[in-house]
C-alpha cells in the first residue's frame, strides 16, 4: 500500500454532556474509497466537521501527506486539499453555479477584479470533467438536489482536493442519479484521490467502497477492506450490543384499535400511508433518513396539509387542520428537531411543560402558578428530569434533559396516541436509557405509541411491530419475534430483493 494521504490519530471531541468521538484513528489511501459507517449519532458527522476545519478536536492529530496540520477554519482544510460534500447542502441558492463553485477563491485577473469569463470557463470545465452539463450561469435554486451535489463535487475539484468527503450524498437521489454519482466517484478514484464515503445504505457501500471504518457511540469498532466482511457482520458491528439486553421489553397487553390511518398522502412527500395502532402497542416506523416518515407524521399532526386520506381515533373520523386540532383529539407529536421544533430554550422548564395545554392551568382568568408547578413537578419527577429548579431555562439543561422536558410537555396534554420522532437523537447514553424505559412505561399505561427511529436496536428493542418506509411509501411490515435486523435494514434500503 502506498503512503496515506491523510491520517487521523487519537482524535477525540466532546460537547457539553456528550462524548462525540473518542480516540479515533484512521488513514486514507490515494485512489481508495473509505466508507465510514455507523448509526445516527455514532460520530460520523463530527469526523467530517473535524476534517473540514469546522470543529477543532480536543485531542489527537491530523496529518496530511505526513505533515501535521491544525485547521482553524474551513479555508485551512481547503488549502490542505480536503473538501466535503455536506449532508445538508451548504450553498447559495440565489447565486450562480459558477459562484457556488468559486465563492471564497474566485479567480481574479491582474486588476484584482473577478474574472467572470475565466470563472465560467473553469466551472464549465470542472462540470464537464464530472460529465454534468449544468450551465455555470444558472442560479443554484433552479437545480435539483442531485445537480446541487454535482456542483458541490465540482467545488471540491476546484480546490484540487486530494481528499473528497461525501456525507450521505445519495440520501435524496434516485437510482439513476446514484449511478451517475458512482461513475464520478470511480473517476475521482482513478485520479488518485482519497474518498470518504458516508452512507447508511449497505448496497451502496458494498458497491463503491474499498475499505470501511465502523463507528459506534463515538468509538471505532472495526475497520478493514470491505471484501473481508459481509453485510450481516457490518450490521452487527454497527448495532453492537445484543439487542434484548439493553431494552427490557415490558409485557403489555395489547388492546383495541385506537388510531386508524388510511391512505394518508400529500403531493410530493408520502403516499398511501395506512396503519392501525392499538392501545398499549408500540409501533416502530423505520426507514432511511429522508424516507418520508417525519413528513407523514407531521401531516397526521396537522403541521402540513394532507391531500388525501383519513385519520380515525376510537372509530371517529377526525378533521385535523392544525396541531391544536390534533392535541384536542388526543394525538401528540414529539418532533425530531428538538432545538427548533420541540424545546423553547429561552423559557423555563415549567413554561415549556405547560405550553401545549395552557388552558388546563387557567383558574378564573389567570394562569395558576401552583397548578403549573404541580404538573411540572409530577411530570418532571416521573421523567427524572435533572435540573436545579423548575424555573431553570431549558437552554441550560443537557440535551437529554431537554428532551425529557419536551416529552413531559406532550404527556401533559394527556394524549391517547403519542408519536415520538427520533426521541433519542443526539442525547447521552444515560438519558437514552431513561427515555427508552419511559416509552415502555407509556405503553404500559395504555397509550398507543408510534416510534420513528433510525436506530435499529431501539426499534427492535421497543416495538411490538415495525413498518418500514422507503421513498414515501410503506414497503414492509414485521412482527416482533418474526424479524431480523438484516430483513428490516434490507427492506429500508431495497437490498432485500437482491438477497431474496
Amino acid at each position: 500500500m502506498s503512503d496515506p494521504i491523510l491520517t487521523l490519530s487519537g482524535v477525540s471531541k466532546s460537547f457539553p454532556g456528550v462524548r462525540a468521538l473518542h480516540d479515533i484513528s484512521l488513514s486514507l489511501q490515494p485512489g481508495r474509497v473509505t466508507a465510514v459507517i455507523g448509526e445516527n449519532g455514532a460520530g460520523k458527522s463530527t469526523i467530517v466537521k473535524i476534517l473540514t476545519g469546522i470543529y477543532r478536536p480536543d485531542a489527537g492529530e491530523i496529518r496530511v501527506g505526513g505533515e501535521q496540520k491544525h485547521f482553524s477554519s474551513p479555508r485551512d482544510a481547503w488549502a490542505a486539499g480536503i473538501a466535503a460534500i455536506h449532508q445538508e447542502t451548504v450553498m447559495f441558492d440565489e447565486l450562480s453555479v459558477a459562484e457556488n463553485i468559486f465563492t471564497g477563491h474566485m479567480p481574479t485577473g491582474s486588476t484584482r477584479l473577478v474574472d467572470w469569463a475565466e470563472m465560467r470557463k473553469k466551472s464549465a470545465e470542472l462540470l464537464k470533467r464530472i460529465d454534468a452539463p449544468i450551465p455555470p450561469e444558472f442560479k443554484l435554486k433552479r437545480l435539483s438536489v442531485a445537480q446541487k451535489h454535482l456542483v458541490e463535487i465540482a467545488r471540491a475539484l476546484s480546490h484540487e482536493a486530494r481528499v473528497v468527503i461525501m456525507d450521505e450524498p445519495t440520501a435524496a437521489l434516485s437510482a439513476n442519479e446514484i449511478d451517475d454519482l458512482f461513475r464520478i466517484v470511480e473517476q475521482l478514484k482513478a485520479e488518485g484521490r482519497a474518498i470518504v464515503f458516508i452512507s447508511h445504505k449497505f448496497d451502496e457501500i458494498f458497491r463503491i467502497a474499498d475499505d470501511f471504518v465502523c463507528l459506534r457511540d463515538g468509538e471505532k469498532v472495526g475497520e478493514g477492506p470491505i471484501s473481508s466482511v459481509t453485510e450481516a457482520q457490518l450490521v452487527r458491528m454497527m448495532v453492537g450490543r445484543p439487542v434484548d439486553q439493553v431494552f427490557p421489553k415490558r409485557d403489555v397487553p395489547i388492546g383495541e384499535v385506537v388510531l386508524s390511518v388510511k391512505n394518508l398522502s400529500n403531493a410530493t412527500e408520502y403516499a398511501d400511508v395506512s396503519f392501525d395502532l392499538r392501545r398499549g402497542e408500540i409501533l416502530g416506523l423505520y426507514g432511511l433518513v429522508g424516507a418520508g416518515r417525519t413528513e407523514a407524521m407531521q401531516g397526521l399532526f396537522g403541521i402540513t396539509p394532507v391531500t388525501r386520506g383519513t385519520v380515525s381515533l376510537d372509530g371517529r373520523q377526525l378533521s385535523i387542520h392544525s396541531p391544536s386540532d390534533a392535541i384536542a383529539a388526543g394525538i401528540s407529536y414529539v418532533p425530531e428537531d428538538r432545538q427548533d421544533q420541540g424545546a423553547i430554550l429561552s423559557l423555563g422548564i415549567r413554561e415549556n411543560v405547560t405550553l401545549a395545554n395552557l388552558s388546563k392551568y387557567v383558574r378564573g382568568l389567570f394562569l395558576s402558578r401552583p397548578a403549573e408547578q404541580e404538573a411540572t413537578r409530577s411530570l418532571g419527577r416521573r421523567l427524572a428530569v435533572k435540573a436545579a429548579n423548575w424555573e431553570q431555562r431549558l437552554g441550560e439543561l443537557s440535551g437529554g434533559n431537554q428532551q425529557k422536558v419536551v416529552i413531559a410537555k406532550w404527556l401533559a396534554t394527556r394524549p391517547k396516541v403519542i408519536v415520538l420522532d427520533e426521541p433519542t437523537k443526539g442525547i447521552d447514553v444515560g438519558s437514552k436509557a431513561a427515555v427508552h424505559d419511559f416509552i415502555g412505561e407509556l405503553a404500559q399505561d395504555g397509550l398507543a405509541v408510534v416510534l420513528i427511529s433510525s436506530e435499529l436496536p431501539e426499534v427492535m428493542g421497543l416495538a411490538d411491530r415495525v413498518i418500514v418506509m422507503k421513498e414515501g411509501r410503506i414497503v414492509d411490515e414485521f412482527k416482533r419475534g418474526a424479524w431480523s435486523a438484516e430483513q428490516i435494514v434490507g427492506a429500508a434500503t431495497g437490498a432485500a430483493k437482491e438477497a431474496a
Binding site: 445484543p242 439486553q245 396541531p323 429561552s346 405550553l355 388552558s359 413537578r377 427524572a384 429548579n389
Partner: protein
Amino acid sequence: MNAPMQPPESRYAVLDAAPRRARDILLRWEVILVILLVATIVVNTIVSPYFLDVFNLADATFNFSEKAIIALGMALLILVRQIDLSVAAIVALAAMGIGYAAEAGFGPAGLFATGIGIGILCGVFNGFLVTYAGLPSIVVTIGTMSLFRGITQVILGDQAKTKYPAEFLELGQSYFIKMKESGVSWLFIPPIPLSFLIFLVLTAIFGIVLHKTATGRKLFAIGSNPVAARFSGIAVDRLTFLLFVVSGMLCGLAAALLTARLGSMRSNIAIGWELDIVTMVILGGVSIAGGVGSILGVFLAVLTLGLVTFGMSLNNIPGQVVSVYIGLLLIAVIAIPRIADKLGLRTGR
C-alpha cells in the same frame, strides 16, 4: 456499555424556583431602569426648582401619553418578532377621520369610536398582509406607513381640521382628578390628565394579560421560537394578526386623544412617532429578537424618557439634543452588558 441500565428511580432534588440572589435581581432590566429613572429625577430636581412641581409633572405627561399608549401594542408586536412602523400614519389617518366625523356632528363618543374603528381597519390590513400573505412586517409596514399617510395627504391636502365639539376638546385637556376636588387636605391626590390615566389603566391591563394569562404566555412562546410554538398547538398566525389589530386600535385611541388635545390636525400630525415609540419599547427591555420583555420595563422606559424630555425642556435644551441623550441611552443600555460579557469571557479563559 453492555451492563443493563437500571431505570433511574432516584429523584433529583429540584427546587420550585431558583433561590433569589442579589446579583440577579440587581442585573434585571427593570432595576436598571428604576435606577435610571431615579437618577433622572434627582438630577433634574437639582438643576431646576420647577421640576418636582406636581402640576408641571402632570402637564408633562400630556407630551408622551399618546405615544406611550401605542408603545404598549408595539411592545407585544416586537415581543413576537414583528414590528409596526405604520403606527404614526395610522394616527394621522384616524385623526383625519375624526376631523371629518366632527364636522358631520359626531359627539365625543362617536369621535373616539371613529378613531378606534379606523385604527382597527388599518391594523386588520397590516395583519392580513403579514400573517395570511406571509410578508415580512418591516417591509409591509414601511409600505402601509406611506399608504396610510399618503391617503391622508390625498384627502386632506394642505387643509387642517379645526372644528371639534367643545366637550371633545375638553376631554383632551382634562384632568381626571383636579387638585381642588380631592377636598381632603391631608390626602394628597395628584392631578392626573385623562390621557395619562388611560395609559396607566392600559398598562395594568397589558401587564396582566402578558404576564398572568395563557395568551401572554403564548406570546412569549411565539417570540422565543415560533416553530416550536406552532408545534405546540399555538395559533401563531391568529395571535400575530390580533396584535396588529390591537396596535391599530391603540393608534386610533391615541389619535382621538391627540386631536382633542391639539384641537386641530394636519396631514403631518404625529410624524416620526414610529421611531420614538420603537425606542421606548427597546429601551424598556423588549428584545428585537423576540421572546424577552416586560410591560413594567416599557412603563419605566416611558416615564424615564418622558421625564428626561420634560427636564431638558425646562432647561431650554432643544428637542434634538434630548434625542442625542436618548439615542446614546438606547445604545449604551444594550451595549454595556455585551461589552461586559465580552470582557468577562476573556478573563474567564
